[in-house]
């Protein structure tokens, strides 16, 4: 029966090519606009660590001193050095890493190329297994390297391509500012979106804001090693008074370090929560803290709280859906016109024994077919739209592509919209009284 309806639908669409074209165009444009924005949204709001994100937490404490009258609702988004190192050294989580970014001057061993200014992450050996960072060559440094301030580094695959032509560079030397470090690992191409482990922060690399969708840093060193070799280059998130030496924040009343922990069970998570709360109480008793506010969100909650998705993107998505609604209304009107114009034909079919249900099914088949063709057009327009988004100079341009799920959604949405638009006109058409129509033939 469906094949017959399909045949009827194709005939009907051919009979009125202009009207058909208008309907298909409306659906295609609406789908194209909304799928472009939906795809961008889908890419930007994806879980950066699927399956693991619920185990990754971001503890916060509040080291605001008594002299500050600055009001804030939640503990600050980064930690001061003392709290961060205290919490890290306790080693109470399954994995834990301090994270701080700074711009660093990098020189290749064979000094033929000019020095580069790159972003460097200083962190702990736990960073790599905790965040599932893939290695091409070598691996992470050891916990002993963390403690010994070893002069070692892990570099990105981009930097390895640039400096070593993509060859295994483990064991080679890199000059970071004025210190030589030994490369112990080279990452595979790694592009978490967002760059979840440092979505806050004042400035990083070349003084640009730490954009949540920027590429990961090119150089990773052990935390204390990084503080030593790149002293003077660290930027605070905020300070309560001017740091005695700019860029050197260990003893300054500033927050600038992030702590990430992995806790494998709910019991451990609540255990760690009370550990952090106790720490805050203890620090208040010691007079170092004024507030005992603490907080520990998991990764997804943290990204949510930091509102990493650019508001432009969300705005565009709502706009595109309003536009799709207009296209839907438009198609609805045109389908209504089209079906009612065929009142005579439908009357004859009804008189010859077709049930209301079969007229309804036939009309919906036609609407669905329009939706499918519109979906094809919408898919092409989505590809065009995504191409335009890629051409924009946004930090996430290189991430934007249509994956399989979004490809399927394009057609599902197109057919759903057209069926929705077709339902009312089809219902109207199926209600046509055959006698009245036959009289006017």
């Amino acid at each position: 029966m469906f094949a017959y309806y399909l045949d009827l639908a194709i005939r009907s669409l051919k009979r009125n090519p202009v009207l058909t074209f208008l309907m298909v165009l409306a659906i295609a444009v609406g789908i194209g606009a909304s799928m472009t924005t939906l795809t961008v949204m889908h890419i930007l709001s994806g879980d950066p660590l699927p399956g693991r994100s619920a185990r990754i937490f971001y503890p916060q404490v509040d080291p605001t001193p008594a002299t500050s009258d600055w009001q804030h609702k939640y503990p600050l988004p980064m930690m001061d050095y003392t709290s961060a190192v205290d919490l890290w050294s306790a080693q109470r989580a399954d994995r834990q890493a301090l994270v701080v970014d700074s711009p660093v001057k990098v020189r290749a061993p064979n000094a033929n190329r000019p020095p580069l200014m790159l972003a460097m992450t200083s962190t702990m050996s736990d960073f790599f297994p905790m965040f599932d960072v893939p290695f091409e060559y070598g691996g992470a440094w050891t916990p002993a390297d963390d403690a010994n301030r070893a002069r070692v580094a892990v570099i990105s695959s981009d930097l390895n391509d640039k400096l070593f032509g993509g060859k295994d560079s483990v064991g080679k030397t890199l000059r970071l500012k004025d210190s030589d470090v030994r490369i112990v690992g080279v990452l595979k191409p790694w592009r978490p979106s967002p760059r979840f482990y440092s979505v806050v922060g004042g400035m990083s690399g070349n003084g640009q804001g730490a954009l949540p969708y920027a590429r990961p840093e090119d150089v990773f060193t052990p935390f204390f090693t990084g503080l030593e070799i790149n002293a003077g280059a660290f930027q605070q998130y905020t300070c309560w008074s001017v740091p005695p030496v700019p860029g050197h924040l260990q003893n300054a009343p500033c927050v600038w370090v992030a702590l990430w922990v992995e806790l494998d069970s709910a019991a451990k998570a609540s255990g760690y929560r009370s550990f952090v709360a106790n720490y805050a109480q203890q620090q208040k008793a010691l007079g170092r803290f004024q507030q005992t506010d603490t907080r520990m969100l998991d990764l997804v909650q943290w990204l949510d709280y930091e509102q990493v998705i650019p508001s432009n993107v969300a705005l565009q998505m709502w706009l595109a859906f309003a536009f799709l609604a207009i296209c839907l209304l438009n198609t609805l009107g045109l389908l209504l016109a089209k079906f009612l114009r065929r009142a005579g034909e439908i009357g004859v079919r009804r008189a010859l024994g077709a049930s209301r249900r079969s007229v309804f099914a036939q009309c919906l088949t036609e609407a669905g077919l329009i939706g499918f063709i519109g979906g094809l057009g919408g898919w092409l327009l989505t590809l065009l739209g995504l191409w335009l988004v890629r051409r924009q100079q946004t930090p996430y341009s290189d991430l934007v592509h249509l994956d399989v799920s979004m490809f399927v959604v394009t057609f599902v949405l197109a057919v759903a919209v057209s069926l929705l638009a077709g339902a009312l006109p089809a219902l109207r058409a199926s209600r046509i009284a055959p006698a009245l129509q036959l009289k006017t033939l």
Binding site: L22, A26, V29, S311, L319, N330, L334, L340, Q392
Partner: protein, 405 residues
């Protein structure tokens, strides 16, 4: 033209009428808000920076030892000044649209921090090179350019210029000249008021948009006042000068790293700074055009359907003495009525959407004059769309009435 018969006819096509009206309503709401968003982008993109952008460029280098800052400054100033076409070179901490460098809270009583401002520090001649417009007081004299302490952000006590906006913020209605304020341990005394100087990384929301900035005179040196150079040249020569300057950095100081993101002319930096806003505005324009197109085609489609459905009635009216103009006007009035229903609904919807945007996104209140303008646009669109079907209706011959009755 009698409206009564048209309304009576529309009652027979309630569903289609409601559909078109709804479509118009949504179009009106989206149109008003989208145009308003575009206007917001455009006005943000045209903010006044307060400096002679067309004549200015910036060279940023990093990766040098702070101990060599003075040496680097001397070499860069000497090397860049001799490039043909260069009018002046100054050491600064930042420029509008350049990297942000020197945002700090200030206090009048050394207790309560209430205003966050941006400090621009610059060497002798910087106010003139920037083209700052003095509106009260005087520019810093040669003595006001004190040495920058090696590991400090500012000299302990400086005589500074502030913007008019900041003067109004700190001392509303009072004379700001000679007054002092503090930023941490540093004291600042106001010696002059300038018309305007924008923050480096402009945002239209919150306090950063207000233009609360301070110019601090200082001799180049130290950790902070080194590595960023303001180049002034004739606007026609600027691009050539900047290309030459970028190339020359490798010769002047082979060991530093040129910041390719920020070593540009100010017009280029401005364009880069607003690239996403421009893309957003372009996208909105595209959506508006597509929206108007879809709406117009919807009207054409439905009006054509009605015309063909009513061919016989039109023929009868013509046979009974109605002129072509009468028929034309009938369809035009009908369209006008439907669009008006839509607009009434659309105005309510536009305000509702705007309120939602204000709630969820940082969008300002829609000025009320957008609503009548949006209405007029949709009326015109409706009339334009209905014209072709209406003309076709007007062309129906009276003889049609006699056929197959």
């Amino acid at each position: 033209m009698q409206i009564q018969p048209i309304l009576a006819a529309l009652k027979h096509h309630k569903l289609a009428t409601v559909l078109i009206a709804l479509e118009i309503a949504l179009a009106c709401a989206v149109l008003c808000n989208a145009v308003f968003l575009i206007a917001g982008r455009l006005s943000a993109m045209h903010i006044n920076s307060g400096v002679d952008e067309a004549s200015l460029g910036e060279i940023v280098v990093t990766g040098f030892d702070p101990k060599q800052a003075n040496d680097l400054n001397a070499r860069m100033l000497a090397g860049l000044r001799v490039i043909p076409g260069v009018e002046s070179v100054n050491v600064v901490t930042s420029v509008p649209f350049g990297p942000q460098n020197g945002v700090n809270g200030i206090t009048l009583d050394r207790k309560h921090y209430n205003t966050v401002v941006e400090f621009y520090v610059g060497g002798p001649g910087t106010p003139k090179a920037l083209g700052l417009k003095l509106v009260a007081g005087s520019l810093p004299t040669a003595d006001d350019y004190q040495a920058m302490p090696e590991h400090d952000y500012f000299p302990a006590s400086s005589r500074v210029l502030i913007t008019r906006a900041l003067a109004n913020r700190l001392w509303p209605g009072e004379n700001p000249l000679g007054r002092e304020f503090w930023g941490g341990p540093y004291q600042f005394r106001v010696i002059g008021v300038i018309a305007h100087l924008a923050v480096s990384q402009y945002t239209e929301y919150g306090e950063r948009g207000a233009g609360w900035t301070v110019f601090v005179p200082a001799q180049p040196g130290g950790v902070l006042l080194a590595g960023t150079y303001l180049i002034r040249a004739n606007p026609q020569d600027l691009d050539r000068v900047m290309t030459a300057a970028r190339a020359k950095v490798a010769k002047i100081a082979p060991d530093v790293v040129l910041d390719h993101d920020y070593s540009h002319t100010l017009p280029t930096l401005r364009a880069k700074f607003f690239a996403t806003d421009r893309a957003m505005a372009g996208l909105l324009v595209g959506v508006i055009l597509a929206l108007l197109g879809v709406t117009a085609f919807g009207i054409v489609g439905l009006a054509s359907f009605w015309v063909s459905q009513r061919t016989k009635q039109i023929g009868i009216r013509r046979a009974l003495g109605a002129t072509r103009a009468d028929i034309l006007r009938y369809f035009q009035t009908e369209n006008f009525l439907i669009v008006t229903f839509g607009i009434v609904l659309g105005v309510v919807l536009a305000v509702a959407i705007n309120l939602a945007l204000m709630r969820w996104f940082e969008v300002a209140r829609l000025p009320y004059w957008y609503l009548p303008v949006g209405a007029v646009v949709l009326w015109l669109l409706g009339q334009l769309a209905v014209l072709a079907p209406a003309l076709r209706a007007a062309a129906v011959q009276p003889v049609v009435a006699t056929r197959s009755v």
